[in-house]
Structure formats: structure tokens, C-alpha cells
Symmetry: C2
Subunit: 195 residues, 2 copies
């Protein structure tokens, strides 16, 4: 495998693992095993675990903004909903790439870390700039959009969809929070969506 392909592969599996257990909870050996290579080779490729995490974070943020920009620039077509709703669906669709939401959330709770925290703040502000400057959201729209996005992410964080069917109140909460997106979420992150 070429170095470039290997890099991508490692970043892919690392996104899933970091999403599951965060920076401190994930070992380079777990990444290596998931990628089918040796632990030292992972380190060799990225220098340090921290650099690996930063690349994973950058990629996740890049994918997010790329997804948003694509929606923003694509013709509405048969989708006559307001841009807020369309971008919201794009956010949900990121579930297609395992670990993105949860890796971002892990980064967002690491503000205290001098390196990762700085990157996380930059990333969040980048998203804000996109909403304000490119999507032309009003402050009120930004507030609603980000709020809903964060609730969505946190509910993924506690694995509410994965625990579907175990507690009626938990299921009801999903219904309340995800509303029309409930079906899609259960399909993409529901029980048995093993990693």
C-alpha cells in the first residue's frame, strides 16, 4: 500500500476510535490493530499520538465544512426547505463517516489542552464564520442551528440511538430531540451499528 493510502486508512480508523474513547482513552496500539499494522508504524507515520489526533480533527472539521459548502452551493432542486434545515440534514448525514461527530465532541471538551484545545476553538469559530459569512445566517439562526447541532452530538455521545429500545423514556427523549430525523439516526447509529 502506498504511504498516502495508508495514511488515509489510518486516519479513517483513528477517527472511529478517537470518537469512541477520546484522545486519552485511545492507544496508538488500538489504532494500529484496527489498521492491521504495527504500533510503531503508526507513530512513525504521524510523529506523535497528538499529531495523529490533530490530523483526525482537521479532517473531521474539513469534512464538515465541505459537506456544508456543497449543500450551500448546490441548487435547491426538489428540496424547498430553508437552508438551516438542509444544513442540518447534512450534519446528520455525517453519521455516514463513523466517528466524526463524536471525535469533534471529544475535541470540543478538551479546551483545556494547550494544543488540542486551541485547535478545537479554531475549528468551532471556523464553523461560526461559515454560518455567518457564507450561509448568511442571522445571529438568531446561528444560535438555533448550533444549539440543535450540539444537542444532537451530545445525544450521540451518550449513545442514545445505540441504546434504543432499552428505556422508554430514553426513546421518547430521542423522539423529542431528533423529531423527523429519528428514523435516519436509528438507521445509521442505532443498535447493531457495530464498529
Amino acid at each position: 500500500m502506498s504511504a498516502a493510502d495508508r495514511r488515509e486508512q489510518i486516519l479513517d480508523v483513528a477517527t472511529g476510535l478517537f470518537g469512541d474513547r477520546g484522545f486519552h482513552g485511545t492507544t496508538t496500539d488500538q489504532v494500529a490493530q484496527a489498521a492491521g499494522i504495527s504500533q510503531p508504524y503508526v507513530v512513525r507515520m504521524f510523529g506523535t499520538k497528538e499529531k495523529l489526533f490533530l490530523e483526525v480533527l482537521d479532517r473531521a472539521l474539513g469534512l464538515l465544512l465541505q459537506t456544508f459548502r456543497r449543500i450551500l452551493e448546490s441548487p435547491a432542486g426538489d428540496d424547498d426547505r430553508p437552508m438551516q434545515a438542509r444544513l442540518g440534514s447534512g450534519y446528520v448525514d455525517l453519521l455516514g463517516t463513523r466517528g466524526v461527530h463524536r471525535t469533534l465532541l471529544h475535541a470540543f471538551v478538551s479546551g483545556n489542552d494547550p494544543v488540542i484545545g486551541a485547535a478545537a476553538r479554531r475549528g468551532f469559530v471556523d464553523i461560526y464564520r461559515f454560518l455567518r459569512d457564507e450561509a448568511k445566517f442571522t445571529p438568531a439562526e446561528v444560535e438555533v442551528f448550533l444549539s440543535q447541532g450540539m444537542l444532537f452530538s451530545v445525544l450521540l455521545g451518550i449513545e442514545l440511538p445505540a441504546a434504543f429500545g432499552q428505556d422508554p423514556d430514553a426513546d421518547e427523549l430521542m423522539q423529542v430531540a431528533f423529531a423527523d430525523k429519528c428514523g435516519v439516526v436509528l438507521e445509521m447509529a442505532g443498535p447493531g451499528t457495530a464498529r
Copy 2:
């Protein structure tokens, strides 16, 4: 110091530390040093680091619900705002106990962990039940309240208030998200609010 007092003291400092660096990122030795005791004594007292974290989490959730219930049961007095706003202020006031919001968020992103994740889910659903059954929120009100709360927590997670003054766009984002609460937040979590 009595065992009970020592317990409380350890739980206090552990809340701050777990809030800063999460379960995996915090060592029992850091907790011990912050409490001015030896590392083995911390373990001795709580059995394992995981049990310590679970107690910290329970306490944080307990404090949250206790705060909410107090507001719910207290007479409105001169505060004529709707209950959503009053509970929201209560949530902000939890900043008075260092680490509560961020420890909760760390727990909420650990859904994957069999033990901590289960406790986190239970905790979140407990909050939902409170809003639905005790505060009598409508589903729409629940959705808005939880959304705003999670955005609030995430912005604390990235330490946006602590980084105030470093990036105009970041400051603007704070304004957009915190609105009238901006002042209080900066006072309680702004730059120089060292731990």
C-alpha cells in the same frame, strides 16, 4: 480530618480535574496532590479511579437536579421570567462549582464506555424526566432548553470564555450564544479564572 470530610474534599477537587481533562486524562495522583494527600489513599478511599469518577458524576448530576428543583419550588418573587429562563440561569450558576458542566460533558461523550456510559445515559434521561414531569415542559420546550444547555456546555468545553479577547470572531460567537448571560459567564469562567 474525618473520613467523610476528606471524601467531600476529594470529590470537590476531582470534579475540577475530571472537568479539565476527563476520566482517562486525569490521574489519581493529580487528584491526590490537589487534595494534599497520597495517591494510594485516594484509591483506598474509592476503590478504583472509575468508582471515583462515578461518584463525581453522581454528585454533579445531583447538584444539577437539586439546583433545578430549588428554583422550581421557590416562589417567583421579583423574577417574572418563564421557568425556562429561570432554570437556564440556574444552569449558568452551576459555574460556581468548578468543573460541574465540563465533567458532565466528559461523561456525556463517554457513552461508549460500558460503565460510565450507562451512568451518563441514566443521568441525561433523569434530566429529561425532570423537565417533562416536574417542570412540565412541553416537548418543544424540552428541545429548546436542552439544545441551549448543550451549546452552553460545549462552549465552556472549548474554553471560549477563558479565551476571551484573543479572537474577535470568538468573542462575537460568545455574544451570539450567551446573549444576556455573557457578563455572568465572563465573570465566572473568563480569563484569569484559574483553577
